[in-house]
């Protein structure tokens, strides 16, 4: 309950702060985008962290969500929020389509299969220019679409939803089931957990959430193209955020997303050539020294300071 209270307080604070604090327009935009990345990274973590199935193909759902949302907006003039949800549902269904058969593979086999799914989807989407605009991409209508200024708050709602689902997945019976599956699929089956059903549910949620994020991104950029939406680098960015923040930790990816965006923005204009290597180095260091990422590091520091304080008292 205290945590839920803190969460609500943080939400209110973030909701109000742009109205009262002198934040520059550019920063305001970037923070809005960061909320979306946080939500997407959390969603990746439901599958990658909670179930332990590392997906290298989540860009497929991001792209499907984005393009379906964009097409829905263009064709029907549906309000953007609803269009995102339609895009999200389409992405969730698409995730089930390939995920249901592949999820019985475990570990590296599943990961490799997701690379294949991601790349095949990217090629197909680029080819299908009637739907995606091909290599030229798709521009959204400028009227009826929210401005980047307004999108800050929608990004915040997206994030709130992702955090709530993360908690629910962790705390509910499903969460325990997922842990059991992560440890040992066959044993989980013996315990009366239906691994197929549980994994399908998580995959659908994860895909749908990432799809909604794709819709948000389409509105944010007002232009999307398949080589960006479906890119391998986009799948990778989700993995990076989760790993940096703390893979499998319920809210770890949040911090990873923040670090990711800071690196990206800081280096964007002048040092864009360094960011890949920086991510790479972070990845290597984290895997070698702190598999739980920033969350693990924070816990370690907290423990360290507690021990330090304790030893001072006893002395």
């Amino acid at each position: 309950m205290i945590r839920a209270g803190g969460f609500l307080a943080a939400l209110v604070l973030l909701w109000i702060s742009p109205l009262v604090l002198p934040i520059s327009e550019y920063t305001h935009h970037i923070v809005g985008l960061t909320f979306m990345f946080m939500a997407a990274a959390l969603a990746w973590n439901w599958l990658g962290g909670f179930v332990g199935q590392i997906s290298f193909g989540h860009a497929a759902m991001f792209g499907v969500g984005g393009f379906v949302a964009a097409r829905v907006m263009l064709a029907t003039g549906l309000p953007f929020g609803l269009a995102w949800i339609v895009g999200g549902l389409a992405a969730g269904v698409f995730a089930l389509l390939w995920g249901h058969p592949t999820l019985r593979l475990r570990g590296p086999y599943f990961s490799i299969a997701t690379i294949g799914v991601g790349e095949a989807t990217r090629l197909g989407a680029t080819y299908w220019s009637g739907f995606t605009g091909g290599s030229s991409g798709l521009s959204l209508p400028l009227d009826g679409n929210p401005t980047k200024y307004e999108l800050y708050w929608y990004g915040l709602y997206l994030l709130a939803a992702a955090v709530a689902i993360s908690w629910w997945l962790r705390r509910s019976r499903i969460g325990l089931g997922l842990l059991a599956i992560k440890e040992d699929v066959e044993a989980a089956g013996d315990l009366g957990v239906n691994p197929v059903l549980y994994q399908d549910v998580v995959l659908f949620l994860s895909g749908a959430m990432v799809g909604v994020c794709g819709g948000f991104y389409a509105s944010y950029q007002a232009f999307i193209d398949p080589s960006d939406m479906f890119s391998f680098d986009r799948s990778i960015s989700l993995i990076l955020m989760a790993v940096i923040g703390g893979i499998g930790v319920a809210l770890g990816p949040l911090w990873g997303a923040v670090v990711f965006v800071i690196i990206q923005e800081f280096l964007l204009a002048s040092y864009s050539q360094f960011y890949l290597g920086l991510y790479g180095a972070l990845l290597v260091l984290i895997i070698l020294f702190e598999p739980l990422g920033l969350t693990g590091l924070a816990a370690r520091l907290a423990r360290f300071s507690r021990v330090a304080r304790f030893s001072r008292i006893t002395r």
Binding site: A113, E119, L123, I239, Q273, G277, G280, I287, P291
Partner: protein, 291 residues
């Protein structure tokens, strides 16, 4: 009929390159049970090495192969000693090693951007655009040479694994590391040499690729994925299986133009990958996946 023959020959030539591309990944997977995600990065780096040797010293890419083998054997040894060694073996380490080596790939890619910029490069040898006519179809001299090198590499690798002490040790460790330790084989050393050898083979593939395609620092992603497809098709971890897997993939891609638009032929491999993984995780040729 003539067209069919032409396509079949080009599929065989392509298969040669594909096999060379997958040897390194397959060898490392077969022995260490690690998917070397840095494979694509090594291929790219070797292409740049060949390009530099050609631009600066006028060394023909095909003559640069021994240099690349030595250099990338060294690179593999360094990556193993510095990083891979610390990852636990078995299922727990599988995902960790995946992410670790992916980090290595990003670092290699970034280094290439810094050194050579993101501009596209080609190696313009005197024979780059020459072709010969075989059974009524024109074929690039370079592609034929690449095929020849791939066959030599296949034979060399086969001899190494079957006729030398090291090769026998590698195969023994691949089968059962624990009993090897009992039999007095230094397993850690075999892992080290295998990783070096696998990386050297990726280097070979990179040099070959540099003669066929234009490349940038992001080159290698497609090659990595196709290598996966091949080792999965061939049953993970068998050298002959890899050659067969390469043939299947090459034929599927080349003949796919009859069924799907040329644009989508490279997607054929990925679809094949997923289908085979799901339906026949042991590979098309029936080898059991070793756990």
């Amino acid at each position: 009929m003539g067209e069919f023959t032409t396509l079949a020959i080009s599929a065989v030539l392509l298969a040669g390159f594909y096999a060379a591309m997958a040897y390194g990944l397959g060898l490392i997977y077969g022995v260490l049970r690690i998917v070397n995600l840095a494979h694509g990065g090594i291929i790219m780096a070797a292409a740049y090495l060949a390009w530099q040797l050609f631009e600066r010293f006028r060394i023909d890419p095909f003559l640069a192969i021994p240099i690349a083998l030595v250099v990338f054997f060294g690179v593999g040894v360094v990556i193993y000693l510095g990083l891979v060694r610390f990852i636990p073996r078995g299922p727990a380490g599988a995902v960790q090693s995946l992410l670790l080596l992916f980090g290595v790939w990003l670092i290699i890619r970034n280094a290439a951007y810094l050194l050579f910029t993101g501009n596209e490069q080609v190696i313009q040898t005197s024979y780059a655009t020459s072709s010969v006519t075989i059974l009524g179809g024109g074929f690039s001299v370079t592609r034929i040479a690449v095929f020849g090198v791939a066959i030599v590499a296949l034979l060399g690798l086969h001899l190494l694994l079957t006729r030398t002490y090291l090769g026998k040790a590698i195969r023994a460790v691949a089968q059962n590391p624990d009993s090897c330790t009992l039999a007095g084989i230094n397993v850690e050393r075999v892992y080290l040499l295998t990783f070096g050898l696998g990386t050297a083979l990726a280097g070979l593939a990179g040099v070959l690729a540099s003669t066929l395609f234009a490349f940038t620092p992001s080159f290698g992603a497609g090659e990595l994925l196709k290598s996966f497809v091949i080792i999965v098709l061939g049953g993970l971890g068998s050298i002959i299986g890899i050659a067969l897997g390469a043939l299947v993939l090459a034929f599927a891609e080349v003949f796919a133009v009859y069924v799907v638009p040329p644009y989508l032929t490279s997607a054929v491999g990925f679809v094949l990958l997923v289908v085979v993984l799901v339906l026949r995780p042991g590979g098309l040729f029936g080898q059991r996946v070793l756990r």
